[in-house]
């Protein structure tokens, strides 16, 4: 789920700063390499907007560790969501499938925040339209709890206990001019 930064990065309580995010991503990259036995069959699929950015950063780190490039793409899940009718029609984001496709690949979905799990459910549906991966895993920068579906992450940057009325804002350099994760009181 994407959290748009409306009040600037100063608003709310910063729980991860730029260095924290960088260390978390480096650790995630190492964990992915370890658990996938060298990432030889790996394809990273980020969920736009910020999940896709994180996937690209993870791919860079994994490539550095392994010394060879990693397949990375983006997967728009908008049309597969179960809450489409609850809001005005949402803008569609780009889906890019790496040249090798996703069939028989080990796909790791990447998103910024794991919350209800509904985005990931939609992502699994979207993914199956593009092929049949050998296995699908999930990496997130922040897991804030409050799951509404039987979904869990395989790689977590930071477990962040939150109340349901709070919101988690992930700011990334590419979109918001700064790397920071903040918790805001809900309205």
């Amino acid at each position: 789920m994407t959290h748009v930064n409306e009040h600037g990065p100063d608003a709310g309580r910063v729980v991860l700063d730029s260095d924290d995010i960088s260390r978390a991503l480096t650790r995630l990259a190492h964990e992915i390499v370890e658990r996938t036995h060298g990432a030889t069959n790996l394809t990273l699929m980020g969920i736009p907007t910020r999940g896709a950015t994180l996937a690209a950063r993870l791919a860079e780190r994994i490539a550095q560790i392994q010394g060879s490039p990693v397949d990375v793409g983006s997967l728009d899940v908008t049309m597969f969501r179960d809450d489409l009718r609850l809001r005005p029609a949402r803008a569609l984001q780009p889906t890019t499938i790496p040249p090798l496709g996703i069939s028989d690949r080990l796909v790791v979905l990447v998103d910024d925040v794991l919350f209800s799990g509904r985005t990931i459910r939609a992502a699994l549906d979207a993914l199956s339209e593009h092929g049949r991966p050998q296995a699908v895993q999930l990496a997130v920068l922040v897991d804030r709890g409050h799951r509404e579906l039987p979904i869990r992450a395989d790689y977590v940057g930071k477990n962040l206990p939150t109340s349901k009325s709070e919101s988690v804002k992930v700011n990334l350099l590419e979109h918001d001019g700064i790397d920071a994760v903040a918790i805001e009181r809900g309205a």
Binding site: T78, L86, A89
Partner: protein, 312 residues
């Protein structure tokens, strides 16, 4: 966007949003995705009071690719031929639960009446009304220009478009002039004086009677069909003379700038407004227009039916 009745309903941001959405949907089609789920359980009625192949098929394909249920209703062979009014047909469709009605009608303003008379609660898409408008055609034309002339991004600021032919009867020309200007393009209309509508000077575009003067700078030349079914008065002396003065042949096409494209909303009269060589040339994007039509209509249906209604 509750209804799409005229391209004048669209701001530049809204129009660009339709084009951006169409681009993503076109990519999904290229990536081999078959049916997409967002309109599952929604019903789209194609209500066609006028003959049409490509527009009806295009809307039908668009709705089906988004998983909507499609009901095709053509005036021939329906209760309309028994004298049923638009109102009673509309009430019937409402009772059947139509979420959107795509209407083509020979009378200008029929879609507006359908949308605002309180007969139906669903969305109305104008698929061509009389000599008034054909907004989805203009959107697919703008999309085709953006793909070929602007790398598929943003608006059409500074693009020079020449529209040639029967502007008087053309809903395609009217919708295009409005939309292209909204998107920042510069439009020139070329036609014999008898085929220009009264008040064309208020449309905000250039008008010329001479095609040869309007080719050197045209990034896109759009040829309009000579509508024989509407040519009941003497608009021009002979078809031969029309073709000589306003038809696009290879000699004229070669005077366009490099990268310029030739468009036609179809169906073409080969040898009349456009020569066969031009229609089949590398500059011609006429087949591409048809393919883009499905993506653009998917975008319109998705934006109208894919969420809650605005303001609800």
């Amino acid at each position: 966007m509750k209804h799409l009745l005229s391209t004048a309903d669209l701001t530049r941001d809204q129009a660009v949003n339709v084009l951006d959405t169409a681009k993503q949907l076109a990519a999904a089609t290229t990536q081999g995705l078959g049916k997409l789920p967002p309109l599952r359980g929604r019903t789209v009625v194609n209500l066609f009071y006028e003959d049409s192949t490509r527009t009806r098929i295009s809307f039908e394909a668009a709705a089906k690719r988004l998983s909507a249920d499609v009901i095709n209703f053509s005036a021939k062979g329906s209760s309309v031929s028994k004298g049923e009014s638009l109102k009673d047909t509309a009430l019937t469709l409402e009772a059947m639960g139509a979420d959107a009605v795509v209407i083509r009608h020979p009378s200008s303003g029929a879609p507006h009446r359908l949308a605002h008379a309180g007969w139906i609660s669903g969305a109305v898409v104008n698929a061509g009304d009389g000599t008034h408008e054909h907004p989805t055609q203009a959107l697919l034309d703008a999309y085709t220009m953006r793909q070929n002339l602007r790398d598929g991004e943003g608006d059409l600021e500074g693009v020079k478009v020449t529209i040639v032919g029967d502007v008087l009867h053309s809903r395609v020309a009217r919708s295009n002039v409005i939309l292209l200007q909204t998107l920042g393009a510069e439009v020139t209309l070329v036609a014999p004086p008898t085929l220009l509508p009264i008040g064309v000077d208020t449309w905000g575009c250039e008008v010329s009677y001479n095609l040869d003067e309007c080719l050197e700078e045209a990034d896109a030349v759009m040829m309009l069909r000579v509508q024989r079914e509407r040519m009941n008065a003497s608009f021009f002396p002979t078809t031969h003379e029309y073709s000589n003065r306003y038809g696009l042949n290879v000699a004229r096409m070669n005077r366009m700038p490099a990268g310029g494209i030739v468009m036609h909303p179809g169906p073409m009269n080969r040898g009349m407004e456009i020569s066969a060589d031009v229609a089949d040339s590398k500059r011609s994007v006429i087949v591409e227009q048809v393919a883009n039509g499905v993506s653009v209509r998917m975008a319109v249906l998705y934006l109208m039916l894919g969420g809650t209604e605005m303001g609800e």
